[in-house]
């Protein structure tokens, strides 16, 4: 062919291959009908959910934020928060609050367990849930510059007994720090007060959890008060307070295949400490669980 040019094959540096001249990128016809994006999120569904969740957010949890100015208006950032309540109430509060206040979408990383459940899995993904896989996080943060929420405690946070409330569990294996380093984005710690009291766990039933294949099966105060079914979906009206801490920048070059493991563990521990201390500080000033 006449219009050959020599370029280096991207995946095989050093080996030169002949490639045809690239035609100017023309838009291929794309007859999409819905608004479900590659992550499974639908802005329309989010909008419906925000409208339905608004009254709960304002009148039931009466969420109050401080330090929202620490969350950037554009560019990627990894939001890291403490995780609590048997059926965690913190994720919807954080996502709803930031989307309303900053008018930019928040995606939430979660366990693939959600995706396995019929109906629930589909709703979870339409409302911004994304399976916690490093590739997903990298693409969202680095290439698409989105806000991404993650709970490094995983299900160890919600699984803990009420008597251990506001005591942070291990922050995984520091994977969230590594993701932020690789994506070149800051970590923004968020301390949440109120979730623990919205659905306190009184007992865990490990035998039943093994049988059902779920990470934990709790018996909550809500279930004792309202019955097993209604108690599973009704939160107690605990007052929510959220404090956004200043962004943590790592000052390392992005896109490296590996980062110092000790540096990762140190940074993860520092962030965990910051959230823990913010929680203690907020609890010191809290006069009532229900009124703040």
């Amino acid at each position: 062919m006449a219009e050959h040019r020599r370029v280096e094959a991207a995946e095989h540096p050093g080996t030169l291959v002949h490639l045809p001249e690239l035609s100017p990128a023309e838009d291929t016809h794309d007859p999409r009908r819905g608004d479900v994006d590659e992550w499974g999120r639908s802005e329309h569904m989010r909008e419906v959910a925000r409208r339905a969740y608004g009254p709960l957010y304002r009148s039931w949890f009466r969420a109050e934020w401080e330090g929202l100015e620490h969350i950037p208006r554009d560019g990627g950032a990894l939001l890291v928060a403490n995780h609590a309540a048997a059926l965690p109430s913190d994720a919807p509060v954080i996502m709803h609050g930031i989307e309303e206040e900053l008018e930019r979408p928040v995606y939430g990383l979660g366990d693939h367990m959600f995706k396995q459940l019929p109906v629930v899995g589909t709703l979870w993904s339409r409302l911004g849930g994304v399976v916690a896989h490093p590739d997903n996080a990298y693409r969202l943060l680095r290439e698409q510059e989105q806000l991404l929420l993650v709970f490094p405690e995983g299900n160890k946070g919600p699984a803990k007994h009420y008597s251990e409330r506001y005591r942070l569990r291990r922050f995984g294996r520091g994977g969230f720090v590594q993701i932020a380093m690789r994506a070149g984005v800051p970590v923004i710690p968020i301390a949440v007060v109120g979730a623990e009291e919205s659905m306190p766990t009184l007992f865990n039933v490990p035998g039943l959890a093994r049988l059902l294949g779920t990470p934990y099966v709790p018996v909550t105060l809500n279930q004792l008060l309202l019955g097993p079914v209604l108690g599973l979906v009704t939160y107690l009206p605990a007052k929510f307070k959220l404090r956004v801490l200043p962004p943590v920048h790592f000052d390392v070059p992005p896109d490296r295949p590996r980062y110092s493991k000790s540096r990762i563990m140190d940074e993860a521990e520092v962030i965990r400490q910051q959230i823990q201390e913010a929680l203690y500080d907020m609890l010191r000033h809290r006069q009532s669980v229900w009124f703040g």
């Binding site: 035609s23 990128a25 819905g34």
Partner: protein
């Protein structure tokens, strides 16, 4: 000097189409097509050899015709097409013999292109949204077709290591739709009520059949080594796929024990959804197509565009019937046109 190409599975959909496309390429001197069955599309200058893919025959053909390029399009990726034993013979044993012949002492083969499938990534809840060529699958393969394709890719990797002078290209195609091809998925979309797994609406990715052919020829002509995903841009939910395909009613399948529930329907011949497709109907799959684009390939269709094109051709077929008459291969006639001195050939004229 032009290419001398061996195409496997000439009697299959892909083998026939690839050979047709090669015939239009003046840089290709010789096309030899191999299959146990006769070609189902008209071919001008492709030499058809009826043979099974045993090692001794393959090695003799490669040596005798001085084959320099092997296009291995004969991998079965639709497990409803044949029995699992037959599929194992075709995929695993066929590839093993082919690669052994291509790597024999004194072999003239310098280019091997293999048409595999994104089935090798599987479909599981813990999957990333986009698989890159290096992302490992999340769970071990459980279906026969996936196991056989993984074995094939293993042989190919060994072949590439043992034969560094050969340019080896592995193409992994996502689900194909198009005006002509019939797959388990296209059949499901053409039923009056399209099945879905209750509570799931996974995202699908498609590649158009023309893009498949063009990508095979693209990597062959440019001798591009490596592994490449081939799939259209974008993912779309199954419900949207069905909406584009005429917005038909959808019938729910039970989310648990689905294969057991489907067994009676399969017996009755009403619905044949293989296991790997049932998984796909729960968790979907996306593959990153940027590496092949980076090498210079341009897709003509996106995932949604592929579905639309497929459905337009179904509408046309329903109105005017099968537009192309079926081709019947007649050996004596074909031999006359290719080899009889009575036929005046243009190349000799010039």
């Amino acid at each position: 000097m032009g290419r001398r190409v061996l195409v496997t599975g000439l009697g299959t959909f892909w083998g026939g189409r690839v050979a047709q496309a090669l015939e239009a390429d003046p840089d290709v001197d010789v096309i030899v097509g191999l299959d146990r069955e006769e070609p189902k599309v008209p071919l001008e200058r492709t030499e058809f050899v009826r043979a099974d893919e045993s090692y001794s025959i393959l090695a003799r053909i490669v040596a005798a015709a001085r084959i320099d390029t092997v296009l291995h399009t004969f991998l079965v990726v639709d497990s409803t097409a044949m029995s699992s034993r037959h599929m194992h013979e075709t995929n695993v044993i066929g590839t093993m013999n082919l690669l052994a012949a291509a790597g024999a002492a004194g072999s003239t083969v310098r280019n091997v292109v293999v048409k595999s499938s994104t089935l090798v990534y599987g479909s599981a809840p813990e999957d990333p949204v986009w698989f890159s060529e290096e992302t490992p699958r999340s769970r071990p393969a459980s279906t026969r077709v996936e196991k056989s394709l993984l074995e094939v890719e293993g042989y190919l990797r060994d072949f590439a290591v043992d034969n560094p002078h050969v340019v080896v290209t592995l193409l992994r195609f996502s689900n194909v739709l198009g005006p002509h091809i019939t797959t388990a998925l296209s059949r499901a979309l053409e039923t009056p009520a399209v099945p879905y797994v209750f509570g799931f609406d996974p995202r699908f990715q498609f590649v158009e059949e023309g893009d498949v052919i063009r990508s095979i020829l693209f990597v062959m002509r440019n001798s591009i080594p490596g592994i490449y995903n081939v799939a259209g841009d974008g993912l779309l939910p199954w419900s949207e796929v069905v909406a584009i395909c005429g917005g038909k009613p959808m019938v729910p399948l039970p989310p648990y024990f689905t294969p057991v529930a489907l067994a009676p329907l399969r017996r009755l011949g009403l619905l044949d959804l293989p296991l790997e497709l049932l998984e796909l109907l729960r968790f979907g799959r996306g593959v990153d197509n940027r590496r092949l684009k980076g090498a210079g390939f341009r897709y003509e269709h996106t995932s949604a565009g592929t579905v639309e094109r497929f459905w337009q051709s179904v509408r046309l077929r329903r109105t005017v019937g099968q537009s192309e008459p079926g081709f019947v291969f007649e050996r004596d006639v074909e031999n006359f046109f290719r080899h009889s001195p009575a036929v005046v050939r243009e190349s000799e004229d010039a």
